[in-house]
Symmetry: C2
Subunit: 533 residues, 2 copies
């Protein structure tokens, strides 16, 4: 059962001030509150003594920028960076030796190693002059050399330093489309692929296309990955929330979709699209096939564009769940381009590859008319193209080494090692969290996160109020100051008001997990002692 | 003398329909006309028979997207791609063997080779596992290996696959700041540097920050690089044009700036910033120091943000001109952060490096309050970070090999070879153009382009009208169909109405220049014969 907690005047006040930093958000929903971001900004503006005559002040910039928030790089992370500098300048100045960044899905920053084959190919494409040299045979695997040649031959003039077609190099899109076909068992068209610098710019392009004004709404899960709220805010639209059911493992009910859609319509909001994140971020759930079919049917019936965030498609940790792309699901229902408009987002930053710094990704755009495709192409072309190394890497993750290739065994060992370790880490952290007083944590079936609910004592809520912050931020800040562990308050993702959560990645290396567990446990015990009602 | 040609009813009609594809543009300026983009879009929309019930049609997408145009990848380029496919499918189907892309500053697509040292360092950073191997000594230069180690040591955990700080890796920003200091002789702060995927995203961030509505204006040169008109359109602002004086080598007069600023103010436009492109795109002029001082003074007096596009800072071909950054100029006038708000854009895509596909670049942001800097950081953080290879390359171009480094001689030879060849190509094409009947072409002092004026016969203008296109597009399309040479009509950049131009890069390899000259000359002769009044 979802808990529609009675929101006290105190908490409601806090919520208005801090908890939800969304774009325009359907505020009269019974379970969500509307931030008054402009009031807080104008107050900061008045404190700018030095810049009262400056041509650019908080009072004169684009209000959409002011309203946008991006919690995973928000205030807790800024505090963490300060603590890290203090540790460096004065070792021993804090009760911990290092900052553990569990705020963001950034595996390699925590020691995950890149897949060797991928990096070999990237290096060879960066400096093709060495491909013919004998020393190269000793340094690189045979199939990496072969693949580098194949890729170079797909690039006009073998020019890895040239702008490509604005959708990305055609040969690489062919490879990606073939990879999608192999994954789904349904055809994929290379002309439907738009290669982008990670998935984020692809999301922005779609929001930019769909949102005309505040009257346009985008259905988003709550909790959600704050890229969506940020992008909707920057484009001036309205986030129409639908709630994932925590008591049912963060399940998605179409009755909730319908309810929220109707509520939005009754307020004159033109709902244009539905965002689904599968596997879920921050919730870690993997949708059941049946559930996916209902979502497809819902979008078809209601004429909504389905924006499917599928960047965690390789991150599944439980034997009874599998990833199915929404395209596969819709095709299996007999729905083609005429029936459903569907965008799938993929990224090289996630999966077992975790190549965040390479900024590679793509969107597969299906079901639009040629005229609209042209508009999407035009917007993509204004930034000319995405980076070529990221494009190459996107093709590699969709067509890794195969049985018989020289690298296959080492590649498989690296991949399996990373994924099985992630599964163990998820389980260890989940168990540890569920062992804490007043903490409930759902299973991480997929993705890279835990999103535990914390039942905070009233005294802690009041202390947060006194500190002028939300209770979850208060908890996370205390955790950071005591342990060096960086997590993100649930309010950055959205949560049922009166409930509190935080998001914690499962990414610290395995040898660090016991220490994290004991630090977290110790902190939580003391916190509860301090604030017990 | 600028020519305020009498605009005939016919031409005015064409202009309304095709010539200027700008965002909201100050239309009552005596020398510019306002496009009616929405009317053309709604007519296309009605032709979409298949998608009348589709959730997304041209009539229901963001109008700002519809209004945005980006000519350097526009209709002529689309035609060129089709011709290229036809040539591939059926060799001999056109009166030329290959398409010569002179539409865009994309040097490596036309055969320019990358700088070896830069690529060595990138490859080593992509696959650091080989740094310790003996074979690597034989394949890579000593200083490239040394530099790769230095860069890896600047990256937390040596993780080139991790998201970085949203402004870019601090150590690389230190290197860039040091490079700026060495260039200018004035201090640069690494915290002022924001590394971006090429210069374009940086421009978008600033437009997004400054533009609140149509009431906000950005002063832009005409002709301009269409990134600016596109970005202003996408952000819903108003482009306030100021005209470069073709008869004075595309000089910039502050009297023109004042006039246009006053005209905009009188219409209630709040002008927020001034864009200057130096060296000029598409015009190729290099501003005189004195002129730059006037511009700085103007921005200071009028409280305008100075957006300085300085991506061609290494591309200067005449001995009597030198590049001076606007920051250097303003500091030399005694103006600091308190006096002037200044953004400088730089890119790895231009210069002698021409690494367009790497998508590296930065903006140096000075003169904003900490509160506004925080907002810029927030917007940057929504996309997490720019790609790390691009970040590394941006640091390399700002600190290339020095005297005494193993690579210095080969690096210098490569650099000088490229720049001196570009100078020769610019001169050869400029001379050829000036030899054509009814064509006047200014000197390319810098950047990568020629922007000749073509005096078209009335008969050609009428033929264009009959073909439902602008006269310059008509000319460029004919040129492409006859020769395979791709250039961009002046209307994509903006031009004094009734005058016609095209932009042609100086980038085809030197051995192709004679052929281009003879094809162009032959075509132009026949064109003039056909349409002579």
């Amino acid at each position: 059962m979802r808990k529609y907690a009675r929101v006290s005047a105190t908490i409601a006040h806090l919520l208005r001030k801090r908890s939800l930093q969304f774009p325009r958000l359907l505020s009269s929903s019974p379970i969500l509150d509307h931030p008054s971001s402009s009031s807080s900004s104008s107050s900061s503006s008045s404190s700018m003594s030095s810049s009262s005559t400056h041509p650019v002040s908080l009072g004169t910039i684009n209000e959409k920028v002011l309203k946008c928030e991006y919690a995973v790089r928000g205030e807790i992370v800024t505090l963490a960076q300060r603590l890290q500098e203090e540790l460096l300048a004065k070792p021993g100045s804090h009760p911990f030796d290092e900052i553990l960044y569990c705020n963001i899905g950034n595996p390699q920053s925590l020691g995950q190693q890149p897949i060797t084959f991928f990096r070999e190919v990237l290096a060879l494409c960066d400096h093709p002059a060495i491909l013919d040299r004998s020393e190269t045979q000793g340094l690189f695997s045979t199939d990496a050399i072969k693949r580098a040649w194949e890729i170079l031959d797909q690039i006009p003039g073998r020019a890895t330093g040239a702008y490509s077609h604005s959708q990305g190099i055609k040969g690489l899109r062919d490879t990606i489309a073939a990879g999608i076909e192999a994954r789904d068992g349904y055809p994929a068209d290379p002309n439907d692929i738009f290669l982008t610098d990670g998935a984020s710019p692809a999301v922005h392009i779609m929001m930019q296309l769909l949102i005309r004004s505040e009257g346009d709404g985008i259905l988003c899960p709550i909790p959600q990955y704050p890229l969506y709220s940020a992008s909707i805010a920057l484009n001036g639209g309205t986030l129409v929330p639908y709630y994932l059911d925590e008591s049912a493992g963060w399940g998605l009910e179409t009755s909730e979709l319908k309810k929220q859609l109707e509520a939005a319509k009754s307020k004159g909001i033109n709902v244009r699209a539905l965002v689904v994140i599968n596997p879920g971020n921050p919730t870690g759930q993997v949708l059941a096939e049946d559930n996916q079919r209902q979502i497809v049917e819902f979008c078809k019936q209601e004429g909504l564009v389905l924006l499917a965030d599928e960047v965690y498609q390789e991150n599944i940790y439980v034997p009874d769940k599998k990833f199915h792309s929404f395209k596969k699901i819709s095709r299996s229902m007999g729905y083609g381009n005429e029936d459903i408009t569907l965008i799938s987002f993929q990224s090289v930053s996630k999966g077992y590859y975790g190549e965040c710094g390479k900024r590679g990704g793509y969107m597969e755009v299906t079901g639009f008319s040629p005229e609209i495709r042209e508009q999407i192409y035009k917007v993509a072309s204004v930034n000319l193209c995405s980076n070529i190394s990221g494009q190459i890497l996107a093709s590699l993750v969709m067509s890794p080494p195969k049985v018989g290739d020289e690298s296959f065994d080492s590649y498989s060992a690296e991949k399996d090692g990373i994924l099985s370790s992630l599964a163990r880490r998820a389980k260890a952290l989940e168990d540890a969290l569920n062992n804490l007083e007043g903490v409930e944590c759902n299973k991480t079936e997929g993705a890279m996160y835990l999103f535990p609910r914390i039942y905070l004592p009233v005294k802690a809520v009041k202390a947060a109020e006194a500190a002028n912050t939300s209770p979850d931020t208060f908890y996370c800040r205390r955790l950071l100051n005591a342990t060096g562990i960086v997590v993100v308050p649930g309010s950055g993702f959205g949560q049922v008001p009166g409930t509190w959560h935080f998001r914690c990645t499962i990414l610290p290396q395995e040898d660090k997990i016991p220490d994290i567990v004991s630090r977290l446990t110790e902190f939580h015990k003391q916190f509860m002692e301090e604030f017990r009602d």
